[in-house]
Amino acid sequence: MKRIFCLFFCVSFCFKVYSQSSFSGIITDDKQQVIQGVSIRVYELHTNILQAFAISNGKGLYRVNKPILQDSVKLLVSMMGYTSQQRVVHRSAIEQHFSLTPQAIELKEVIVKNPPLTQRHDTLSYDIKKFANSADRNLGDVLKKLPGVEVEQNGTVKYNGEAINKYYTQGKDLFEGKYKIANDNFRWQDVERVEVLENHQPIKLLTDIKPSTQAGLNVIFKESVKAKWIRKLEGGLGKNTDNFLYDNTLNIIRIGASTQSFSILKSNNVGTDLSASTASLTIDQLLDGGGSSYSILQKNNRSLSSILGLNQPALDKRFFLFNQSHYLTSKNLWTLRKIYDTVLNIEFLKDKQQNEGFNENRYFLGKDTLNIREQQANYLAVNQLEATLSVVANQPKYYFSNKFFFKTSWQYAEGSILNNSGNKTQTIVQQNQFDTQWVSNELKMLKKNAHNHILELRAWGYYLNSPQTLNAINEKQQITSQDIRLQKSFAQAYTNFILNKKVKLNVKAGIEYANQQLKSSLMGFPSSKLVSDSSLLSTNQSLSYTRAFAETGYGIASERFKFNLSLPLSFLYWQELNKSHFYGEPKVMMSYLFSSKWSSNVNYSYNYTIAEINEFSQAFILLNYRNIERNNAQLPENQRHAANWSLNFKDVVSFWFFNTRVGINEFQSNLVSVQQNDGIYLSQTKIASVNSNQSLTLSSDLSKYIYEIKTKFTLSAFKQSQQSVRLLSDNQLANIQNGFYGLSFGVNSKFLKWLQTSLDIKTVRSQNKIRTDKLDTFTEAKKIELTFQNDFIISNRLTFGIEATNYLIENPNNRSQNYWFLDGSSTYHFKKKDIEISLYARNLTNEKSFQTISFMDNSSTITDFNLRPQQLLLKCGFKF
């Protein structure tokens, strides 16, 4: 017993000595003179994390007191005025002496006084005033200039190539994803800084448990405007060749720590698209399963039957949107009991849009090619009312959210078409009424217990009612009429328990019920060849299912490595079809931080998409006046494999940002579309057959900001290719390949104090290949876009701006199109009264129309879109 005790003592002692091994030594120069003040740093060998350090004393001696646990470590010895030395040493080599060679002190003359970008852990802070100038109209204009940040045309903000997942004002989620209106109306002069929150998990309780690769954005206001009312009225009057123009805005904003209010009234007929302000730009990535109510509403936001319109050109809408738009929103936030953020958001949109032009469609139908030219004049009137009431408590140990969402919209579209195919011409008037009523509620609760384990509960449901009609009347007053009534209801509840240990384990179980009804009736379709059976003209279908699901998940979240694997299993039972299906949807996500600059993410997911009744209509549905579609009584079963990999680089010191992404998708379906035509009338019937589409996306973005010349350079490239199959007439199997390739380069500079200049060059090449036994087609279109913008800052009060855009488009029939657009603006600011007067001149070159080409499966369409004429607008704005 005594021996065992002695042995144990000796072993413990040895272990103690071994575990406390450290380094010491003496530092001298090349003349063997001791050097004092030298830093000796001990780094973990692979991760380069600083483990311990020591400073040499007046006798040149150093001693690292902290015990070293790794077998081998890197020693780095450095001091200003001497060359640095590094050594990889085993921890048993306790004595380490160094001799340093003197060198000239290298330090930039002045490193940087107050840099514009600082980083603290995962938060990057951009000092807004360092990037802004008096030519910038709003916060959105300044965001475009920030290194690593991009703002897309629809308002989406991206950080290092990926869309942000939250937009906060003073840390509060007032806008709930609809942040375009914020960036368009916040004055940059009121903003102190913008923070990018990297790897942002919006639920605080899940930080370090469910990692996120997306960033959040937080706008911090200046002390001088915090919790104060900012009121601004802007009125604009103008003229183009046809109409008087107006563009008015009233802003009433107050951003405080516990109460926030944002009310805007906008009204214009100058081509500013206000419907874009109603769109949510953030993606719900909370891994909830089934998505959020907003994403489902977006899917159902399009009429099944609609008028045949013109494809919108890839131009800024201010050039082609003939509108009369009115938009009112009031978003208010109150923090109750210090933790409950209550947001009431009400918005109303009344939007009228008109467009004119023609489509030249080419359909490859197997035996022959169908060409249709359609001269169009269309009108759309949208009325939309939305209300959201949310209560969110986002605490480190507790999360609660309840979101009630109501939307009603009534939309009327009318269009007249003069079509021409072969030698036949026809005049059609189309009328479409599309209404939507939506109500949903989402409740979510998470709580951490004393052992840091988490219990989650979620319950949500929605109801959608959508009556739709489409009438097509020809010159003989023959009416083709389609009536649709679509109703959907859905409820889901689940509970999830997360065992929060080193390896996170979660167990989830829940149930879901959905009921969908479709009443459809088609009358007077001109082609009896395509609709020979009258029983295929109307349907009254119901489709309901119950799904029970369970999931186990595993996660690891260390400082560098994050891993998440979830294995959900579902049992789905279709009531009306008395059919069941059992499936799993595995998902895996990994991310690795190589260093503070380099990181990489990889993920794979398999999804089974539960069929929607609108994909399962057994009767023909009139998609537009000449296209019908039905499902040949086969329940759609769609599956998707998606794999993505990304590599990211950022250096906030030298302002380099880079990312490259690869995405591979395979979409498998049990249905394939069979196409038939009778003159210009086309029918598509989905029949049972294995069908798979593949797509590959490659993209790279590089951004560099040079502080000394206040210039941002961006370079982007992308490649997208898709492969699909389709059955053309005579059962010809067609392989369809679509390819898109793009390259863009941009410079935004304020090198000179009086000049803000930007240059953007974009090239896009689109290709379409169709191959059957009898057909082999290849169509290609090219577009080069060059935008050059100059803002002359004469003084803090007076600016002049000029923007020139050139489009060079090469269509498949080798008709080259060259367009020039020229806009001008000038702003004068009366400082004393805070009044701003601006003059805008648009389309000075008076381009009349714009032509684009688009590909869709086995068809290509050239669209000629009429543009807004020259216009002049005088605006006056003041704060009150």
């Binding site: 311990a52 400073i55 002190i105 002045v110």
Partner: protein, 266 residues
């Protein structure tokens, strides 16, 4: 009477000046810090701001307030060029407000010592102490300051908990005030109560001698200095009833707030 005697003794001591021993070498780098401090903890919203410089040589460093240096220069200019003249209204107040902290800190790493100068009332005092040991703990957090990636380190020192951010790329074990001992220059440091915040705002390469020309000061022990300082704070007029001298002066003998950097000896 007792207080008056004390004042006389202090004044007499200040006449018998000595000069503390400080290092003489060339400085190769200068770091300017923006310094914010709260002198009265009951009024945390009222902060004092000034800019201080740290001149760094191979064996030591010199830390001083630029505001105070400018103030002393202005006082000297006025004395030399406008002797006997009355200052313009408001000019005196402006000079007092911009005077900054008179404290000067000379670090001598060879001798492992610090020579400290500070002004109490009208006189400078100096004392020498051993270079203090800071038990820094390296934290994994990083942040950029002046475009340098900085590592976080924390420590407890003489009554306050500090959070420091140092740059490993600038391999010099220095920092503002007495702070040092990290494997890189401290670019930001603050205490947990935000009473004292030092932020680097500029780093320059320089090549001139660290000034050895120190103010005429009375050499005392650190303990003696603290007792004089505490006495001064409790009675800023040093026992003199100013109203007896001039009843029209609206100055009271109330104590000044006590919130120094060093709250305890250890």
């Amino acid at each position: 009477m007792k207080k008056l005697n004390t004042l006389i003794i202090i004044l007499l001591i200040s006449i018998c000046n000595t000069k503390a021993q400080i290092i003489s070498e060339r400085a190769y780098m200068l770091c300017n810090y923006s310094c914010k401090s709260v002198s009265d903890t009951s009024r945390r919203d009222s902060t004092t701001k000034e800019v201080a410089s740290l001149e760094i040589g191979k064996s030591g460093s010199y830390y001083y307030s630029i505001n105070h240096k400018n103030h002393e220069k202005a006082m000297l200019d006025f004395k030399n060029n406008h002797a006997g003249e009355r200052r313009k209204p408001g000019e005196s107040l402006k000079m007092i407000l911009a005077m900054g902290t008179p404290m000067k800190v000379y670090k001598n790493h060879k001798e492992s010592s610090i020579v400290y100068f500070d002004k109490i009332a009208l006189s400078y005092y100096t004392f020498e102490e051993e270079m203090p040991t800071f038990d820094w703990i390296i934290q994994p957090d990083t942040m950029t300051v002046l475009n340098q990636i900085c590592q976080k380190a924390t420590c407890y020192f003489r009554g306050r908990s500090y959070e420091a951010w140092f740059s490993q790329a600038i391999a010099v074990s220095e920092g503002p005030w007495k702070f040092n001992g990290l494997p890189g220059l401290i670019l930001k440091i603050k205490d947990s109560r935000n009473d004292y915040v030092f932020d680097a705002i500029e780093i320059k390469k320089i090549d001139y001698d660290i000034p050895t020309e120190t103010p005429i000061a009375q050499k005392v022990s650190k303990e003696k200095f603290l007792s004089i300082y505490k006495y001064f704070l409790t009675d800023p007029m040093m026992g003199v009833d100013i109203k007896k001298i001039n009843p029209n002066i609206k100055l009271s003998n109330t104590a000044l707030p006590w919130n120094p950097l060093e709250l305890t000896d250890k």
